[in-house]
């Protein structure tokens, strides 16, 4: 790529460096803001810290408890409609957790939808148990998918050897298979931890004081420096999780025959009993609650402009993210320094939306031409979701055989022409996939949109939130269903095509 010998660095480096540094703007802003703040840590803080950590730990444990057995079943057990089961079990990823929290909250408890419809008294879902339940239901697929990918990469002959030596199936799964997929499980568990730490809607709806909820309260009281201090504390935990994640390295085995298990009829029923409650709680229930609300209250209050605003802002974010991703991805391929710059942009993905919002509100107040503009909101989306685009673009660009470009150059094409006719057409798929992912994540984003959106700019997610706060639950049906639909498209994209590698931690 580098044709000017005067430059020691590849051409993409300076740009990539700027973009990577941009990812650190929020942290710099927060440090500056927090230095005004007097209260470093107080008693309530301790409570918030313990709530946050407890929610994280319980959610991880719950996700492993559900995700690993489901991974074993979907990877090894011969069932009818295996593919369908896999999609259905991964589908909770397509539902933003705040939607799950909202509908579970409305369905359970005294006078909840379940009691109204069926007359069964139900316990309320809230607090730490409620938040753990919701987060587990919507994040176990991370563990299931990473574990499953690891399981599929294993060679069945070890299990067969264990079986010939007299071990039962259960014992050989426990002692031969599971230890070898520990890294897969760990990778999924860390994703769950990250997801739980940055989630805003669920703790807010479940009324659990975690960092994200308390940051929002501080922001509402415009205690920006206190919000910044809390944000930094949260970022320390996030940084720790990210660090652990970077240490998880898969071991590669020589691929062999897949293990296949043929269950008896009774075992099938048992598995069905495991599947059902998870699917009912995480997918059927929210859709049913939205369905009931839609029937009961119709589409009142909904304005197509909300969907349009969502799509508009998300589209801009996707476009900008991909444009910025190209130099970063190039730099990542070009050398070690570039690889490091790419790693830096990944930091943005770990910054919870509420933290990004806090930082950028302050940026906006200092730079009034940005305050309450679409540009600032798009910037927040880009900073957060750039890594998704970078990952997509890089993985396709990596797959590109460099000799193709060399051949084109040898045949007399200018670097520009070689790029236009060889590199671009071959990487466009990755760009489109990356853009689509950014688009869909931006659609679902709630806290930063609440804080940064321009005046009068209501999106599906912010409208849903407003409806929840005002207690007009019935009006959540249309925006809720639209968001689920959008996210489902994203999931379909993730499971097919490029992004499979994302979950295939051990396969790298």
């Amino acid at each position: 790529m580098n044709l000017r010998p005067a430059l020691r660095w590849p051409a993409s480096y300076p740009l990539a460096l700027v973009i990577a540094l941009l990812a650190f703007v929020p942290v710099g802003v927060l440090v500056g803001l927090a230095s005004d703040s007097a209260e470093l840590f107080d008693a309530h803080n301790l409570k918030v810290l313990s709530n946050t950590l407890l929610l994280m730990v319980f959610t991880v444990l719950g996700s492993v408890a559900i995700g690993v057995p489901l991974a074993l079943i979907t990877a090894y057990v011969q069932l009818r409609w295996r593919r369908l089961w896999l999609i259905v079990l991964a589908a909770p990823l397509a539902i933003p957790s705040y939607i799950g929290a909202f509908t579970l909250y409305a369905a359970f408890g005294r006078g909840g939808e379940i009691q109204q419809l069926l007359g069964w008294p139900m316990p309320a879902v809230n607090g730490l148990p409620g938040a753990t339940l919701v987060m587990t239901l919507y994040s176990y697929p991370f563990v299931m998918l990473t574990t499953r990918a690891s399981l599929l990469s294993l060679d069945a002959s070890l299990v067969n050897a264990a079986r010939t030596l007299g071990m039962t199936i259960a014992a050989s799964l426990w002692r031969v298979v599971l230890p070898r997929v520990a890294t897969g499980i760990a990778a999924g568990a860390l994703l769950v931890a990250l997801y739980t730490l940055s989630d805003f809607g669920t703790p807010a709806i479940m009324r659990l004081d975690t960092f994200t909820r308390v940051i929002f309260v501080e922001y509402n009281a415009f205690g920006l420096s206190q919000a910044a201090m809390l944000s930094l504390q949260l970022l320390v935990i996030v940084g720790l999780v990210l660090f652990l994640e970077s240490r998880v390295r898969g071991s590669k085995e020589r691929p062999g025959r897949h293990l296949t298990l043929w269950p008896s009829r009774a075992q099938k029923w048992l598995m069905f009993l495991v599947f059902t409650p998870v699917i009912v709680m995480s997918i059927v229930l929210p859709l049913a609650v939205f369905g009931i609300w839609l029937l009961r209250e119709g589409a009142g209050g909904f304005d197509v402009a909300y969907a349009w605003n969502s799509a508009h802002a998300s589209f801009l974010a996707a476009l900008v993210a991909v444009v910025l991703a190209i130099p970063v991805a190039h730099a990542a391929i070009a050398g070690r320094a570039g690889r490091f710059m790419e790693r830096l942009t990944y930091f943005g993905f770990g910054v919870p939306g509420i933290v990004m919002g806090t930082a950028l509100v302050y940026v906006g107040l200092q730079l009034p031409f940005l305050y309450q503009t679409l540009a600032l909101l798009v910037l927040a989306y880009v900073l957060r979701f750039l890594p998704l685009a970078v990952g997509s673009v890089r993985s396709t660009a990596e797959g590109l055989d460099p000799s193709l470009v060399k051949a084109a150059r040898l045949l007399g094409a200018s670097p520009r022409e070689a790029f236009q006719r060889i590199t671009l057409p071959l990487t466009i798929r990755g760009m489109v996939a990356g853009a689509a992912l950014v688009f869909l994540e931006a659609m679902r984003e709630l806290p930063a949109t609440l804080m940064l959106g321009p005046t009068g700019f209501e999106t599906l997610a912010t409208y849903l939130w407003r409806v929840y706060e005002a207690g007009y639950f019935g009006r959540a049906a249309i925006p809720g269903l639209l968001l689920v639909l959008m996210s489902a498209l994203g999931l379909a994209l993730m499971l097919s095509g490029e992004r499979r590698a994302e979950f295939d931690v051990t396969g790298k």
């Binding site: 008693a43 409570k47 408890g109 005294r110 509402n220 009281a221 200092q366 309450q372 009068g456 706060e469």
Partner: protein, 345 residues
């Protein structure tokens, strides 16, 4: 600000509105208020910061104003009242002004903004439309509301409810509250002014031991009705609205006696930029049409002369609100610090 005088005035004007309002409201009785027909058309761009909380009803008013004034480009930013008040102040500090008008559900938030010197003076003929005691040079109260104790009628009888708000902290009742809600924070501010920091802190601590938090006070009243809690803290209209939609709702209204528990507060509006447009916009909210709409549909207490109060509110002369200066409710910062210290925010 004589809250007591205000209530007594209301009672005198005929606010004892236990009478069924089956008779359509008579316009003759509302001759004191200006009609929208007498107002100039609104033209141009205006940005309103709307402290949400009232859901569809304020929206309907704004939609009607939009419809009447096709030349008006009204931008609305919605948020919690306290959050918007704080953003207006922070924006002014940073030299940014985005809002032309601020409509808050709570006078504490109004005070926060006007104390920062950001409110523009209102013309005397505008403030003159308001009832005596509700005329301020810098902001216009739009509607009034009383703090109440909604209780579940299956689980409690009125006799079981203490008539002192302070006594509730020592009771064993399951309580619902919305500490993040601006009206609640104003109520705590009033308690701080009336009973002192220490007593308020103890009270918050005591209540929080047997309280459940909700996002808003409609949520509180709904939880009371469902029986999730025995009793809650909420503005009067949430209960009246719930009962309107569900006449057999198991919720009643109790009032405390001469303390913060039955504080009378007002939603209000102020202009943040100069010119006629913000002022004329405010005039629309004080018209007979808007005021009677908010009274009959939102169950708020109209504050312009000659508009009938909502039905279902008990005789106001049976209530004895505390003597609190509304403008002092702006002193929100110590309240927030206190609530944070106790850990209820």
């Amino acid at each position: 600000m004589q809250r007591r005088a205000f209530l007594h005035n209301l009672a005198a004007v005929g606010a004892i509105s236990c009478l069924p309002m089956s008779i359509p409201r008579s316009l003759a009785a509302e001759a004191g208020a200006v009609s929208v027909d007498q107002l100039p058309k609104l033209e141009g761009e205006i940005t309103l910061y709307l402290g949400r909380g009232e859901g569809g009803l304020y929206e309907n008013v704004l939609e009607a104003i939009r419809k009447r004034n096709p030349g008006l480009k009204l931008q609305i930013r919605r948020g919690a009242t306290a959050a918007l008040a704080n953003s207006i102040v922070a924006e002014a500090k940073a030299g940014v002004r985005r809002a032309d008008v601020f409509w808050a559900v709570d006078s504490g938030a109004i005070g926060l903004v006007s104390d920062a010197g950001l409110a523009r003076p209102l013309p005397a003929d505008l403030t003159g439309q308001l009832k005596p005691g509700f005329q301020y040079p810098q902001w216009a109260p739009v509607t009034g509301r009383v703090r109440t104790l909604p209780y579940n009628t299956d689980r409690l009888t009125p006799e079981q409810i203490p008539d002192s708000i302070m006594a509730l902290a020592d009771s064993e009742l399951a309580i619902g509250w919305a500490p993040a809600y601006a009206s609640f924070q104003s109520f705590v501010t009033a308690m701080r002014l009336l009973e002192g920091e220490k007593a308020t802190e103890d009270w918050l601590r005591g209540i929080s031991r047997h309280a459940t938090s909700y996002a808003g006070e409609l949520g509180v009243v709904m939880a009371v009705e469902r029986g999730e809690v025995d009793l809650g803290f909420a503005n009067h209209y949430y209960t009246l609205r719930l009962k309107n939609g569900k006449p057999d709702a198991k919720v009643g209204l109790a009032f405390t006696n001469n303390d913060a528990g039955c504080l009378v507060n007002a939603s209000g509006i102020l202009a943040l930029s100069d010119g006629d447009l913000p002022i004329n916009f405010i005039r629309y909210l004080l018209t007979r049409e808007v005021q009677s709409y908010l009274a009959s549909e939102a169950y708020e207490i109209p504050l312009v002369e000659g508009v009938k109060p909502p039905q279902g509110l008990p005789a106001l002369n049976t209530i004895s609100p505390p003597r609190v200066d509304l403008t002092q409710l702006a002193d929100l910062r110590p309240t927030l610090n206190l609530m944070r210290r106790v850990g209820v925010l």
